[in-house]
Amino acid sequence: MIGGFGTAGMPSELIDALIQHGARDLTIVNNNAGNADIGLAALLKAKRVRKIICSFPRQTDSYVFDALYHAGEIELELVPQGNLAERIRAAGAGIGAFFTPTAYGTPLAEGKETRVINGRGYVLEYPIAADFALIKAEKGDRWGNLVYRKTARNFGPIMASAAKCAIAQVRKVVALGELDPEAIVTPGIFVQRVVEIDVPGQLSPPQAAA
């Protein structure tokens, strides 16, 4: 799992380290499928990814994914964004499966179990768990407690809970007690590694309507 919505919250430096590490045949869970040549797109370009599970692969600058997809070199599992978030949340919360109204009656529910509950149609969806989550936060401490910054929070908290090993890159590691206990977003039990990487975020180019 890799956090981020576009480039907001994308842990680009951790992805660069993953590329250097050399792991291949990966299944990646992210909202998108990479922007330009950086971060997730660089990982795809290095041909390390067998399958991607995401909600919105097609962007104005997703040319690396687009080429791999058209060449049949990457498998795509397209998941509505709310189902993606809830499946990740469910994995972290120990839920076995859940019924969701999203995608009922659409092509994305084909072949899936459905049920009518109180007159409304629902689709059965299963959790998505991961071996590793790479996420980005603003500050973290030695216990793994995290706070995020603005909309860079996005998938970070739920992905941390859904992975056996959650690795967070933070702009600043602070001493225990510096984070307000009332304001900690991800409690340290969900985070196994914290790495300080002090670089500012990057803006995506404007995206086409979709």
């Binding site: 909600s55 919105f56 692969p57 097609r58 189902n83 109204p101 603005k150 309507a209 979709a210």
Partner: protein, 222 residues
């Protein structure tokens, strides 16, 4: 032929968004509605990537890469606004907490089915984002679109020929030619732009319409 500009359509949608509403404006055309919300109304804009109380675009040079909207464009947060993670954001959408969402569309059927995520072209890369969650989750689903395709075909249809985003979910359709409600009896015309007759509109729309204009005072209540 006379018809509404996109700005006029956006202004017309904005008129139907009442004081105190929690609203999600979809990517593309619906984003323009934000420019026409009456200043005297307090309206809360939600963005799927985790903010409530979304403000306008920042001044040039003040963009923050960590503060973007669903279209990944830089935005601002109003005083009183909040950030939250994705599961909470989609709980707001799927849990029926949003009063209104405004979406673009390829087609809307007489039963209220919406098609707006995929043309079905075999070589197209499918992308769905949060469209299916919004379609089934908001209390009212408003569609904003041109009535006709560039080829002159009506986007109001008996059955969607494009893959659907949600079934029986659209409440009202705002177009450049008029405003339509989706009812158990099919499309009901609520407003026609000035200079166009019902018969002319019926000819353009190509699906059966009935005409029951709204009283001006009741336009806020669908």
């Amino acid at each position: 032929m006379k018809r509404f500009t996109r700005d006029q359509m956006a202004a017309r949608v904005a008129r139907d968004i009442p004081e105190g509403a929690y609203v999600n404006l979809g990517i593309g055309l619906p984003t323009m509605v934000a420019n026409h919300l009456p200043k005297e109304r307090e309206i809360f804009l939600h963005s799927e990537n985790g903010l409530l109380g979304m403000g306008p675009a920042p001044a040039a040079g003040a963009e923050d890469p960590d503060l973007i909207n669903a279209g990944k464009q830089p935005v601002t947060l109003l005083i009183g606004g909040a950030y939250f993670h994705h599961a909470d954001s989609f709980a707001m959408m799927r849990g029926g907490h949003l009063d209104i969402c405004v979406l673009g569309a390829f087609q809307v059927s007489a039963k209220g089915d919406l098609a707006n995520w995929h043309t079905g072209a075999p070589d197209a890369i499918p992308a769905v984002g949060g469209a299916m969650d919004l379609a089934i989750g908001a209390k009212k689903v408003y569609v904003m679109m041109e009535l006709l395709t560039k080829q002159g075909e009506s986007k109001l249809v008996a059955e969607c020929s494009y893959p659907v985003t949600g079934v029986n979910c659209v409440n009202r359709v705002f177009t450049d030619h008029g405003v339509f409600d989706v009812t158990p009896n099919g499309f009901v015309v609520r407003e026609i732009i000035e200079g166009l007759s019902f018969d002319e509109l019926q000819k353009l729309a190509q699906v059966p319409l009935t005409f029951e204009p709204l009283e001006a005072a009741s336009t806020l209540e669908a």
